[in-house]
């Protein structure tokens, strides 16, 4: 008797949605509202105004930089909440990790060797994604996730316990706060240069400044995201 009720609930949610999407403009239609208004302006003058050929980065870090500021605060708040929720496993309780290998499991030497072999290339790719994010697909969040995954891999295979973490705890705290701090710094810089928070200088001769501010934001986001992902992973592992 539970199943029909579930089916009824889903139908009640899905049928109005189907009626709704049936009346939307065709995807890809040039006249759709998604291509009018702000989007048209972004494509028209976005590359000149933001210092980023990649318009997605331009919208993210210039036109909607305050949204992105909020977004990095969300990551930071999530990390803080994770650290508050996860109490470290009581020392001496038999199943606690860190006693033997990392997470209590022995890593195969083949896996450890291959991870060490590929680590520099993964780091290079991550850096490429971060620093070319304003002219090609990529950016701070994507590159930061690549770097964070690399740090997770390394902390699994390097066999270090909670006593000697990959990044010293004092440095890790600052790195985890890197994204909000970079945003605050660039916001104040924009306030000084243009008189508005996160304002980018509009002068055509200042293109280098716009590009530099975008790269600084990308780098800060990447470091913050990588450190936050590693922090969540280590917290879940029980370090």
């Amino acid at each position: 008797m539970r199943k029909p009720l579930v089916a009824l609930t889903i139908a009640a949610a899905a049928v109005p949605m189907l009626f709704g999407v049936a009346s939307l403009p065709r995807p890809g239609d040039d006249a759709a509202p998604a291509h009018a208004h702000a989007t048209a302006l972004y494509i028209e003058g976005g590359a000149r105004a933001t210092g980023a050929d990649n318009l997605v980065t331009g919208v993210l870090l210039n036109y909607r930089a305050l949204d992105t500021f909020g977004e990095v605060m969300v990551i930071f708040a999530a990390l803080a909440a994770v650290m508050a929720v996860l109490t470290p496993a009581a020392p001496g309780s038999g199943d606690g990790p860190g006693a033997g290998g990392p997470a209590g499991a022995q890593v195969s030497p083949v896996v450890a060797y291959v991870v060490r072999l590929t680590a520099p290339f993964i780091a290079l790719f991550g850096a490429f994604v971060i620093f070319k994010g304003h002219v090609s697909p990529g950016g701070g969040f994507q590159g930061g996730v690549v770097l964070g995954a690399l740090l997770m891999l390394l902390s699994v295979v390097m066999g270090r316990g909670p006593r000697t973490p990959l990044i010293p705890a004092a440095a890790a705290r600052w790195l985890q706060a890197a994204a909000p701090m970079t945003f605050a710094a660039v916001a104040l810089l924009g306030l000084g240069l243009t008189g508005s928070l996160l304002g980018f200088p509009a002068d055509p001769g200042m293109a280098w400044a716009r590009e530099l501010m975008i790269i600084a934001l990308e780098l800060g986001i990447a470091i913050g995201v990588a450190a936050a992902i590693l922090g969540v992973f280590l917290g879940m592992r029980g370090d």
């Binding site: 539970r2 199943k3 579930v6 609930t9 889903i10 949610a13 899905a14 949605m17 189907l18 999407v21 049936a22 009346s23 939307l24 065709r26 995807p27 890809g28 239609d29 040039d30 759709a32 998604a34 291509h35 702000a38 989007t39 972004y42 494509i43 976005g46 590359a47 050929d53 990649n54 318009l55 997605v56 331009g58 919208v59 993210l60 909607r64 949204d67 992105t68 977004e71 969300v74 990551i75 708040a77 999530a78 990390l79 909440a81 994770v82 929720v85 996860l86 109490t87 496993a89 002219v135 090609s136 697909p137 950016g139 969040f141 969540v232 917290g235 879940m236």
Partner: protein, 116 residues
Amino acid sequence: MAGLWQNIDYAAFVALFGIGLYIIIAKQNLIKKLLGLNIMETAVFAFVVTSGMADGGTAPILGPDTTGPFASPLTHALILTAIVVALSITALALCLIIEIYRHCGTIEADELKRAA
């Protein structure tokens, strides 16, 4: 329902949304519920990104020798933000599930309800 046939990809995202909703309602395992939530999120992301698509359009990356039409950068940027928020939700929910398991020894919703 000619409009629905023309927007068949939107209808597919509604189906994906329904699958996620079904998992959230019908499954008892908390991790499966979280997976269902992620499937619903993915449906919304795909819906918004698809609405920014342009016929024959390319990625909105300008350069010396690129010509339009371009997909809408606005929808992409919005969804980039949404993906990061979804990631934060997933991380926090997983940690809460880990704590629930440590305290109660189970992550099945019905068993938790019976024990309470």
